[in-house]
């Protein structure tokens, strides 16, 4: 007598929609994966694909395939696919998520990829709290390359590069990623699960779904570590490998939730909407001022005289050397001339001397380097000593000091040496010494109209108080030049 057995639960043999119907990219054997029998990747792939189906996010999902056995994850998933360099998937996922906040980013990584070569990338992505999901498959070995030691290999475990077993003296201890990342403030969900038996597999399924769901809710960084069997490299049967996950691996890597802040997590603030293109120039401080008659100013300048001024400004950092040069160049530009300003840079900006090259010319400027200055502004003695010899015969040296060092004297250049810092102090602030010296230079050069100097000051000096002080300082410099150089 036969009877129909009514099942208590429905058995399905369907494939999640998030998997491709057949694996065309694989080239051959289009209905089987490339994974070995008993490998954990198959399970994890299916859990992930089911989670994608259940959450209804297939179109939005982007899977990052790592380097390792799962390098071909893109063969199987019918989502957006990107294959990344070894260990860099979290960096790739970071930028993709930030570029396309609506997308769902899955960084699928093995233990060599994530804990060894990619240790920095995972740590920083977690620490920034990137709103991505990391599926970390840990089988304690480099499988694809044939079984070399990984940071996660168990103590004593043999590998092709630890033929006598992992020793703590040589390779250190197994790296516990969940514990490590759980010390960070930013991650919202970190759990370690295993594929050691059906109960563990059921928990792993739930954890993976949660990790993806967290992201779809905008909660932040989630990572699920999956202890996964590798029968081929471990040289075990599929069943023994599964037992080994449960009986051995688990002792070094205890399962459980290491971090769960999902209840208190808030979705990230969305991007501010992009401004219209017409606003870009204004936002970036690009002047949209049209030049009504571009030739006029230049004609005036050319009319007046041919200008080709080479200036070197040097002094201590903090004396306003670069600003002096900048105001000069800005004024030159305002007067319709060609200008260039070239700073020295590097450690000498932190201490010691700083200097810049300024050229102002009625013709186009070839080299912005000032090898033979017409005017050297030396705001301290080291600068004078460094550049004095370079001044063009017939040129000028403006020196900030009571007395001009005798050994620097040259018969073929003009010198104006005054205690400019003290003079500036008398009119209000020692830091205006650069402007007093600029005032003297403007008289010497006699190439720039006052209106252009005013325009440059207003553009480059932010406070009204300082503009007033600088104007006084410039005037003082002009007068000092005339006082000192009458009859020269």
């Amino acid at each position: 007598m036969s009877s129909v057995i009514i099942p208590e639960y429905e058995v399905t043999h369907s494939r999640p929609n998030a998997f491709n119907k057949s694996y065309e990219r694989k080239g051959e054997l289009k209905h089987a994966t490339h994974y070995c029998p008993g490998c954990g990747h198959g399970n994890v792939h299916k859990m992930l694909a089911e989670a994608i189906d259940q959450l209804g996010i297939q179109d939005r999902t982007i899977l990052i395939s790592p380097v390792g056995c799962s390098v071909f994850a893109y063969y199987y998933f019918d989502v957006g696919n990107v294959q990344a360099a070894h260990g860099r998937a979290p960096a790739v996922a970071t930028a993709m998520k930030r570029s396309r906040p609506e997308s769902i980013l899955i960084s699928y990584q093995g233990d060599g990829d994530l804990t060894a070569i990619g240790a920095a990338e995972i740590l920083h992505a977690a620490n920034r709290g990137e709103n991505i999901t990391v599926i970390f498959v840990n089988n304690g070995i480099y499988s694809m390359t044939g079984g070399q030691v990984a940071p996660t290999t168990l103590v004593g475990q043999k590998s092709t590069t630890t033929p006598n077993g992992r020793s703590i003296e040589n390779e250190g201890y197994p790296m516990r990623v969940c514990e490590l990342l759980a010390t960070l403030e930013a991650p919202v969900y970190i759990e370690r699960v295993g594929l050691g038996d059906n109960k563990q597999i059921a928990q792993a399924t739930r954890a993976i779904k949660r990790a993806v769901e967290n992201q779809s809710k905008g909660l932040g960084f989630s990572l699920v570590e999956v202890l996964s069997p590798c029968p081929t490299i471990w040289k075990m049967s599929a069943v023994d490998a599964q037992h080994w996950v449960r009986g051995v691996m688990e002792k070094t890597y205890p399962l459980g939730v290491y971090c769960d802040k999902t209840k208190d997590a808030h979705p990230r603030t969305p991007h501010a909407p992009a401004p219209p293109l017409s606003e870009l120039r204004k936002i970036m401080g690009i002047t949209s001022e049209e030049i009504s008659a571009p030739e006029v100013k230049q004609e005036i300048a050319a009319d007046k005289k041919k200008v080709d001024l080479h200036v070197r400004v040097a002094g201590f950092g903090g004396q306003g050397v670069l600003l002096l040069g900048e105001i000069l160049a800005e004024a030159g530009l305002d007067a319709g001339m060609q200008v260039s300003w070239l700073p020295s840079y590097g450690p000498e900006m932190r201490s010691g001397t700083s200097n810049c090259h300024v050229r102002i010319s009625s013709e186009s400027i070839d080299s912005p380097l000032v090898a033979l200055p017409d005017v050297l502004i030396a705001m301290n003695e080291p600068s004078l000593r460094k550049f004095d010899a370079s001044v063009r015969p017939g040129g000028w040296v403006l020196y900030n000091g009571d007395t001009f060092p005798g050994d620097c004297e040259r018969k073929d250049v003009n010198v104006l040496a005054l205690p400019f810092t003290n003079i500036a102090l008398e009119i209000g602030d020692a830091r205006a010494a650069n402007m007093v010296m600029l005032g003297a230079l403007l008289e010497i050069a006699d190439a720039l109209p006052q209106a252009s100097i005013d325009a440059a000051l207003n553009r480059l000096v932010k406070s009204k108080k300082w503009i007033e002080l600088d104007e006084r300082a410039l005037q003082m410099g002009r007068e000092l030049y005339h006082e000192a150089c009458v009859g020269v």
Binding site: G80, V92, A95, S99, I104, A120, H124, S278, Y345, D366
Partner: protein, 381 residues
């Protein structure tokens, strides 16, 4: 015509990039490129773009890989040692056909070198420092204005060829302030159809540099090579400054070309027949321009702030037809006007005395001398 603004080349790069539709900047600070990173940090968020300071140059370039995969116009900046770290990612991006723009404001090397300006990144940038048969397009600005103009062009080229494009400048060109005018119209960011953008339309797309099958990889490499050949046909740019009738052709890029312009003017004024050939695209290299000029030129003079890297491409382009002389400064030092004038004078004198020879001519002379000596010896036996 818009009014010109006084601006550092490094600051101009970011503004031009944003006008060109760039909405992603991922970088790591390094002198003398840091102003680019800082300017991007200030401006990117204001225009709806992303700025992120990465944990390393390795991460930064992989973030470019991600943003570019997502179809965003994206850039980074760095210098010498940082570019070395990015080479892995650049190779991946060339392999995966991902556009991006990388500004290398080069400094002294090898290793930590110093912060001075050198041109010693030429090899690692122009020849490609990563693995595999790939090329990067390399543009060499020599003014703040060109920093802006070539940045805009770099984004067009990157998209046209789906390939990384370099802006290779020295510290001087990056740090120098000059009047800049932004002539490029603002470009609306668009998602290319190959991108993986997390949308229904882009779901089937794949970005990868992996091709397991030998024939498939070979076909892919041929496709890449065809793009580079197209760039060699269509994108070569150089500036010829009094070079068309010059006997002495000076060759240099970046800040060196600025100094060489001044030298050219001074030497011409002194009656010496000098000109300047300035490559603007370092790859593709202006080989044809050298072929044209070498018909009249008697000698080429390469001036570099490196141990002689550009000169290798010049020698290939001149192809032994003319002598190629070399002058360099290193370690952050810059060739001075005076030393270059002295060099030009020396060469002019040699030319007048007919004492400049190609390697082949020297070889013939040496061989003839040896033969003569041998005959002499035999005559006395």
């Amino acid at each position: 015509m818009h009014k010109k603004q006084l601006m550092k080349g490094n600051e101009a790069v970011v503004r031009s990039a944003i006008l060109a539709g760039c909405r992603g900047f991922y970088g790591y600070p390094i002198t003398p490129a840091s102003e680019i990173t800082e300017t991007a940090a200030e401006l990117m968020p204001k225009v709806g773009g992303v700025f992120l300071q990465a944990e390393s140059e390795v991460a930064a370039i992989n973030m470019l890989y991600g943003a570019s995969s997502a179809g965003v116009r994206v850039m980074t900046s760095s210098s010498g040692p940082g570019i070395s770290l990015m080479q892995e990612g650049i190779s991946y991006m060339a392999g995966a056909e991902l556009p991006c723009v990388i500004a290398d404001i080069s400094r002294g090397g090898p290793g930590l070198g110093n912060l001075g300006s050198e041109q010693s990144d030429y090899h690692q940038v122009v020849k490609g420092g990563g693995n595999g048969s790939y090329r990067t397009i390399v543009l060499a600005p020599y003014s703040a204005q060109e920093m802006a103009d070539l940045t805009a062009w770099a984004f067009e080229l990157a998209d046209k060829y789906r390939n990384p494009v370099f802006l290779l400048a020295d510290g001087f060109v990056g740090q120098m302030m000059e009047p800049v005018e932004f002539t490029n119209a603002a470009v609306e960011p668009k998602v290319p159809d190959w991108a993986v953008a997390g949308t229904k339309e882009s779901r089937g797309n794949l970005i990868t540099s992996l091709h397991m099958d030998n024939d498939e990889l070979e076909a892919h490499l041929k496709k890449l090579e065809a793009k580079y050949m197209q760039a060699e046909r269509e994108e070569v740019r150089s500036e010829s400054y009094f070079a068309d009738d010059a006997e002495i052709v000076l060759v240099g890029y970046g800040i060196v070309a600025r100094i060489l312009k001044a030298v050219t003017v001074a030497a011409r004024a002194a009656g010496i027949n000098v000109g300047l050939l300035r490559p603007i695209t370092l790859y593709p290299f202006p080989t044809k321009e050298f072929e044209r000029l070498r018909k009249r030129a008697k000698v080429f003079v390469v001036v570099e702030m490196s141990n002689g890297q550009l000169i290798e491409d010049v020698r290939l382009a001149v192809n032994g037809a003319r002598p190629v002389e070399f002058h360099n400064r290193q370690g952050g030092n810059v060739p001075t006007h005076d030393e270059l004038m002295a060099l030009v004078n020396r060469l002019a004198k040699k030319l007048a005395e007919d004492k400049l020879f190609t390697d082949a001519e020297l070889h013939v002379k040496e061989t003839l001398a040896k033969v003569a000596a041998e005959e002499e010896r035999l005559a006395h036996v």
